[in-house]
Every structure is written in C-alpha cells, then in structure tokens.
C-alpha cells in the first residue's frame, strides 16, 4: 500500500500517518520527491482495512501495490533513485541524468596491469573501475582471483586515479572485508538468489550492483533487490547481463527489453553488461549502443590492457583502443536518448 500525501503536508501530519500505520504492526518507508511525498507501507496489508486512511489529515490518495516487490517498485518512490558511489575523493552516480560507465579488467592480475587499465579507461571517459578479486569460475581449476591482495591493489589504484571501485563479493563471510576496500559491492549472476548474501548486503552501507541471474526473470531480479532493501540498504543498481536462451551464436542473449521493463517497474537505476552478454569482444560495442538506446543508466565493460594474455575472460575483453573508440561512438547514442556520458568526478572538478 502506498499513501501519497498532499503537497502542503506538514511533518506532524506525516508523523501521525506513520504512527497510525506502525501501531498496527506494519512498517513505513518515506520517500520525499520534488513534487510529492510517498509513505510506503510494508507488512500484512489486511490490517489496514480498519483504518480510514483517506480521511487522515495530509493524505491525498491511497493505492494498493499489487506487485510482490514493494520497496523496489516504481510506485514506492516519489522520484527515480540516484545511487551515489564513493566519497569526495572518488565518486560516481547512477540513475541521474548522465550515463556512467564502469570499466576495467575481469580480474585483478597485478598492480601494473590494474593501474594501466584504470588510466586507460579513465582517459576514455569511464567514471568507475571494475576488477574482480574473488572470481566465481565455472571450473574449480580455473584462476580464482587474487583475493585480499587484489582488494588492496584496488584501493591503491583508486587513490592514484580517483576512480571509485566495484568488485564482486561471493560469500557472506567476505562482505565486511570487501566493504572495507570497495566503494560498491557486486553480486554476481550466479549469486543473485543467494538470499543470505543479499540479506547481509542489506546491513552494510555500501551501494550494491546486483546482476541478473542467468535464468532469472525480471520479477526474480526485483525480488532479489527487495531482499537487500528490506534489510535496510536502499542503494541498489540493477544490471542486465544477458540470459540463457536456445541461441548458441552468442554466449548469452542480451535482454534489451528488460531495460525499459525494469525502468517501468522500478525506481532503481539499470545498467547493462555487454561483455558477459555477448561473450565476444566484437559484440561489446553494438550491445552497449543498444543498451543506451533502450534507456540504460550505465554500462559495465571489461577492458584489459592485453586481452590475449588475460587470465580470465580474454575473449570478451576490449583492449584500451577499442574501448576508447566505443566510448567516442557512445556519445551520439546517449545524445539521441536525451542523455550524456558522465565525466569522471575529478575531471569535473578541474574543468
């Protein structure tokens, strides 16, 4: 159930409405927008039948939310959510006007390669760095990532370049450790329905990048976001990264339609991973263009200084030159969609 308040509602009226709802054992969530304020009710809605909500002072309208996801639903927020990542020295934003691009290697392989990749992607216009420390690999014999050492390298390179960093957290036991080092925590596709991990991420104060599972529906993705939000963390960015279909010409099928559908169903920002979707460097740019045309708020792209020598996912990684050229072409697609590409934070400060 959501309650839209009158435009001239007072704080005391809002407090009163919330007290009435909470005294029935429900919880409330307040969303203040530029033009309206929304009080979302969470819990067993049947208890609300006995309250004449519409007659409470300050209430404009009362609408039931029929979707199973509440906090993640479009109706629950007065405006679209802008997720802010990082701090004053390195920051990025998702869901506002400009499109933010995250780029970097699949996994952190060493200091030199990470720094070189970070400098290259920053120069090309990326506003955030990615790099895997813990890698969920299909084979237990494949390279599993440098772990804690990689986290320290990410912190170093963040300081050197001013790019905030995102890295994957695979396990509830790693959440605190990764949160100490990274600006944003990524839930990989294979962990999208790891509910204990999602709940744990709800308790940290770091934005979460939630990737859609290989075989997950849009509804399941939003329910996964709901898990994180219901546990207290409302800074969630959704990521479409391709789903499993009968098609074998590409590794996964990028579900372009999911982008506008997610934006219709939810107030959360939506970004796209064209690298994993196609599984082929040649497909990254066209899929990125399609994503932006369809309304994505950002991209996450794999870039390796030397893809031939990459320890993981070399086939789908762009080299720095190809990435720079994609970024140049991307500006026109962004402009056609009425958007622009975000400028890295400290470049903005210098300008």
């Amino acid at each position: 159930m959501i309650i839209v308040t009158k435009s001239d509602v007072t704080d005391a009226e809002i407090d009163h409405i919330r007290e009435r709802i909470e005294s029935l054992g429900m919880r409330t969530h307040l969303s203040r927008g530029e033009r309206r304020t929304i009080i979302g009710c969470i819990g067993d809605e049947s208890v609300l039948d006995e309250v004449p909500l519409r007659s409470l002072p300050g209430v404009e309208s009362v609408t039931p939310v029929l979707k199973p996801y509440k906090l993640a639903s479009r109706e629950f927020a007065a405006d679209r959510t802008i997720v802010r990542v990082g701090g004053r020295d390195a920051r990025a934003e998702f869901g506002g006007g400009p499109i933010s691009v995250i780029a970097g290697p699949c996994s952190v392989e060493g200091r030199e390669m990470l720094l070189s990749a970070a400098r290259d992607v920053r120069k090309a216009g990326a506003s955030m760095l990615r790099g895997g420390a813990f890698k969920p690999r299909t084979s237990p014999y494949a390279f599993q990532g440098l772990g804690e050492q990689a986290l320290r390298l990410l912190v170093d390179v963040r300081a050197a370049t001013g790019l905030p960093v995102v890295t994957e957290v695979m396990d509830t036991r790693q959440v605190d450790l990764v949160a100490e080092h990274a600006d944003m925590l990524q839930v990989g596709a294979r962990n999208m329905q790891n509910f204990s991990l999602l709940a744990e991420l709800g308790r940290v104060r770091r934005p979460v990048l939630l990737k859609r599972g290989l075989s997950a529906t849009v509804k399941e993705l939003l329910m996964a976001a709901e898990y994180i939000m219901a546990n207290g963390n409302h800074d969630v960015v959704l990521c479409e990264r391709g789903i499993r279909t009968f098609e074998t010409a590409t590794r996964n099928t990028l579900d372009v339609a999911a982008i506008p559908v997610l934006k219709r169903e939810s107030h959360l920002p939506v970004i796209v991973d064209p690298s994993h979707a196609g599984g082929d460097a040649g497909l990254v740019a066209p899929l990125a263009f399609a994503a932006i045309a369809a309304g994505a708020d950002g991209l996450i792209v794999e870039v390796h200084p030397d893809p031939e020598r990459a320890l993981s996912d070399g086939d789908q990684s762009l080299d720095p030159t190809a990435f720079a050229s994609m970024m140049q072409s991307l500006a026109a697609f962004a402009a056609a969609a009425g958007r622009s590409i975000a400028v890295p934070a400290d470049a903005r400060a210098v300008a």
């Binding site: 407090d15 009163h16 919330r18 009435r20 909470e22 005294s23």
Partner: protein
C-alpha cells in the same frame, strides 16, 4: 616567504590536525561507551516492563506503544535538527531488541 618556510608551516598544520584527530577519536570512543551503557540501562528497564506486563496480564507485543515511541523520538530528533530517517531506523532496532528481551520468560533469563 621561501618554499622551506611554507612547507614548515604546512608540516605544523598537519601535526596539529593529526593531534586533534586523535583527541576527537578518543572522545568518540568515550561517547560510544556511554551509548552502550545507556542501551544496557534501557534493556534492564525493558526486562522489568516485560515482567510487569506479565503480572498485569498485558500482551508483550504492543505495536501501538512501539509506534508512539518511534513518533516521539522522531520529533526529538527533528527538534535537534538531526536527520529523522536514520534515527527512526536506529530506534526500530532498539525497540526490537527491547521486545526480544521482554519476550524471554523469567526462567529463560535466569
């Protein structure tokens, strides 16, 4: 002013900032200790109210009272010009903790 003098002044400024930072952190630790002991006192009272509710034949879970507690502290926070939503979150945690203490029977507490 020569660059040597300038960097000397910068050095002194850094040292005094580092010293003040250490003092601030010490005071923060002191405040944290106070918060924990205040929570302990609050929980002791919560335990007592649980016993009294049992004697008076009242239910332990009292959502009306919980909602009133939250509304009251929201007002206090607003008057103190603190952000109200985080304060509400903190107090929902405290109220929940207190309720769990009350739900324990005297035997299970012993």
């Amino acid at each position: 002013m020569s660059s040597g003098e300038a960097s000397g002044a910068g050095e002194r400024e850094r040292e005094s900032a580092t010293a003040e930072l250490a003092r601030c952190r010490e005071e923060i630790e002191h405040i944290d200790n106070e918060i924990v002991s205040l929570l302990a006192r609050r929980l002791t009272l919560g335990k007592r109210t649980g016993e009294l509710k049992r004697v008076a034949g009242l239910p332990i879970l009292d959502p009306t009272r919980e909602a009133a507690v939250i509304r009251r502290v929201t007002g206090v926070a607003r008057d103190a010009e603190l952000p109200t939503e985080p304060i509400r979150e903190i107090f929902w945690q405290i109220v929940g903790m207190s309720r769990r203490v009350q739900e324990q029977t005297p035997e299970s507490l012993a």
